[in-house]
């Protein structure tokens, strides 16, 4: 087998300068390893957080806010009407004909939907007082739209149906007010009479905001707190694929005329912070790649400087410029080809090491291990970018080397 001379020469250069080659390999491996680790950590933490969000809240929430004000009878008759002396209503408008709406949506929704009643109230327990949102649910349907049943850490979801005015408290709230299963507390709505309720269970969603401020009850308990026996002011949708929520919400809105909020919109602030995070991550990764690139550039520049005599003689022997250039680009590729797998291994080990680091998340409750997302895509993309950077970084010194004028070198050496 005839080995192409460019490979022959390039191999000789990199193997005869093991120290430089080793430094180059370490440079590439470090860049690749840390880039993979950062990619895994960033995507892992985002996915973990989004997963927690998706588990803790409905994918789409339909509220009783109309997209446009409905025509009044006078407007329908006269085309225009003047309104005056209105008094602000104390009642929530609710979603009209909720059963019809539910039926029409269930026909096509790629997921499950359940009605609920949402009421703001104050909870009193001893001297403690906290503002909460009471969400009235149907426990049988709740399992189809949320993971509440699995999030119960004490008592049970169906305990709501057994007790009188039974409620489920988030663990954070229960801890604050010192409530346990069976405890009694008082719930006072914005308007209306206080209701005495018993704690049927305690849940932990993992999102502190939810666990501190949301109480679950039966729908009729929430309707009683609202003072509106037939009120349905919220519908919650759980989709088979959480990520199509914006499209589905848009269709729901246009069909029923009520505002439908996908989870992405409800958490727009948090998700937009991810975008900033992604940009910062990209900058960090680019800096790491640049470090690898400079390592290769420096090594190839050093080799080409050291090899000026060899380049001169190779050219005098009849080697063409592109031939000489190719030698040094292949040398960079060789360093990259060894450095990339080493970087993969380093990246993987760093990721595994990172999973042992625990941190306290200010948004979710408790201490969490750093979540890592292992994806072959990270490894392949980082490898391709690194290879491209290495080849590009070798190009300039290689081109400069290939333009060496043999006579200048030969005269200088004589």
């Amino acid at each position: 087998m005839r080995v192409p001379p460019v490979l022959f020469i390039a191999w000789a250069h990199v193997t005869n300068r093991l120290r430089q080659t080793f430094i180059g390999v370490i440079g590439v491996a470090t860049g690749v390893g840390f880039t993979i680790m950062i990619s895994g950590v960033m995507e892992g933490s985002q996915r973990q957080f989004v997963g927690t969000l998706i588990d803790a809240m409905p994918h789409i929430t339909i509220t009783d806010e109309r997209l446009s004000v409905s025509l009044q009878p006078a407007e329908q008759v006269y085309g225009a009407a003047q309104r005056s002396n209105f008094t602000a209503t104390e009642k929530r408008p609710g979603i009209s004909n909720s059963n019809l709406v539910l039926g029409s949506l269930r026909n096509w929704l790629p997921g499950a939907i359940t009605p609920s009643v949402k009421v703001t109230a104050m909870v009193y327990s001893g001297n403690a007082r906290f503002g909460v949102t009471v969400t009235g649910i149907d426990p049988r349907q709740e399992e189809t739209v949320s993971k509440l049943a699995k999030q119960i850490v004490a008592g049970e979801l169906y305990g709501l149906s057994r007790g009188s005015n039974a409620v489920l408290l988030g663990q954070a709230l229960a801890t604050k007010i010192g409530a346990r299963v069976g405890s009694t507390l008082t719930i006072t709505p914005g308007t209306g009479a206080p209701v005495s309720a018993s704690v049927a269970g305690i849940y932990k969603s993992g999102v502190r905001e939810v666990d501190e401020r949301r109480i679950y009850s039966l729908m009729r308990t929430a309707q009683m707190l609202a003072g509106q026996p037939d009120l349905v002011n919220e519908m919650r949708i759980q989709l088979n694929d959480a990520f199509v929520a914006p499209e589905v919400a848009s269709r729901v809105q246009s069909q029923i005329g009520y505002r439908a909020i996908p989870w992405q919109e409800a958490n727009a602030d948090l998700l937009s912070s991810f975008k900033v995070q992604e940009k910062i991550t990209s900058v960090i990764m680019a800096a790491m790649m640049l470090a690898s690139t400079f390592a290769i550039y420096s090594i190839i520049s050093t080799i080409t400087n050291e090899k000026r005599n060899d380049i001169a003689i190779m050219k005098s022997l009849g080697m063409k410029e592109y031939f000489v250039q190719t030698i040094f680009i292949i040398e960079a590729a060789m360093i990259a080809v060894v450095g990339i797998p080493v970087g993969w291994l380093l990246g993987y080990l760093l990721c595994v090491g990172m999973t042992h680091i625990k941190y306290s998340n200010p948004i979710t409750e408790g201490t969490l291990a750093i979540a890592i997302y292992y994806s072959p895509v990270h490894y392949i993309v980082v490898a391709l970018i690194t290879l491209a950077c290495c080849l590009l970084s070798a190009f300039l010194p290689a081109r400069k080397a290939s333009r060496v004028h043999p006579v200048d070198i030969i005269r200088g050496a004589a």
Binding site: M1, R2, V3, P4, P5, F8, I9, A12, H13, T15, N16, N309, D310, A312, I313, M314, K315, S316, L317, G318, M319, K320, E321, F323, P406, V407, I410, R411, A413, A414
Partner: protein, 245 residues
């Protein structure tokens, strides 16, 4: 010896020297024949090496034409000139310029690998044969650093002969060698010429130049005299160019 292998016509090479242009080769007309051993002599800075680099297509003339084996080279691209160096010309320099990472045999095989017409086994066989013919049969796998100065220069000559070129161009090939090695190298170059290849050697040593068939003396970039040698005798100086019959 009637076949012309190298011919220069009105060869001029000017280079920048500060703000002015210096003419280092000034209108040289020279004809070199197949199998001829030509020595170019002259004082330091006379332009003899510059003339050799022009003939070897390592440098391009400012004016004039160089024909190698009948092919005009002045309008050739860099790539075509590289091809010509690879196939028609072989170089030996004062410094051996062997690639230090390769063995003697690998250095000799390098031009063959670049040309790419032979199989690895054929290249290996040819390289070994060349080195053996130059008395280096037992040094094939030695690195350049393990060879003496004379041995390195002989490896360089073998490398120059690797692609069986028509012309061997040598610039002070014995400049760094002791007397014994100098004699060996000149004897080898003589043999090369005797085998039918043209050898053009630049040397400042007139006694060595005397072993050539013809000596061209260059002064101030011009040919000051061409001397046809009568071997074993002192060179007979001639007033003008006389081609050897």
């Amino acid at each position: 010896m009637s076949e012309v292998v190298v011919e220069t016509k009105g060869l001029v090479r000017r280079v920048e020297s500060g703000a002015t242009m210096a003419t280092i080769v000034n209108g040289i007309d020279l004809t070199v024949y197949k199998g001829e051993f030509l020595a170019i002599t002259g004082p330091s800075g006379s332009g003899k090496s510059s003339l050799l680099y022009l003939i070897g297509l390592l440098d391009a003339p400012t004016e004039g034409e160089i024909l190698i084996c009948g092919q005009a080279t002045s309008s050739m691209s860099n790539s075509e000139r590289a091809d010509m160096r690879l196939t028609k010309l072989g170089f030996v320099f004062q410094f051996h310029f062997l690639l230090p990472e390769f063995t003697a045999l690998e250095n000799v095989m390098l031009p063959m690998q670049t040309l790419g017409t032979l199989s690895m086994a054929e290249m290996h066989e040819r390289g070994a044969k060349l080195l053996t013919s130059l008395g280096l049969g037992d040094q094939l796998n030695r690195m350049p650093s393990q060879l003496s100065g004379g041995q390195r220069q002989r490896v360089a000559i073998a490398r120059a002969l690797a692609n069986d070129p028509a012309v061997i161009v040598a610039d002070e090939p014995t400049g760094n060698l002791d007397t014994v090695s100098t004699d060996q190298v000149f004897a080898i170059l003589r043999d090369v010429a005797n085998s039918g290849r043209t050898v053009i050697v630049v040397t400042h040593d007139v006694s060595l130049a005397a072993r050539a068939d013809r000596r061209v003396n260059v002064v101030d970039g011009k040919i000051s005299g061409i001397f046809v040698q009568e071997h074993g005798k002192a060179p007979a100086e001639q007033p003008s160019e006389t081609a050897k019959a």
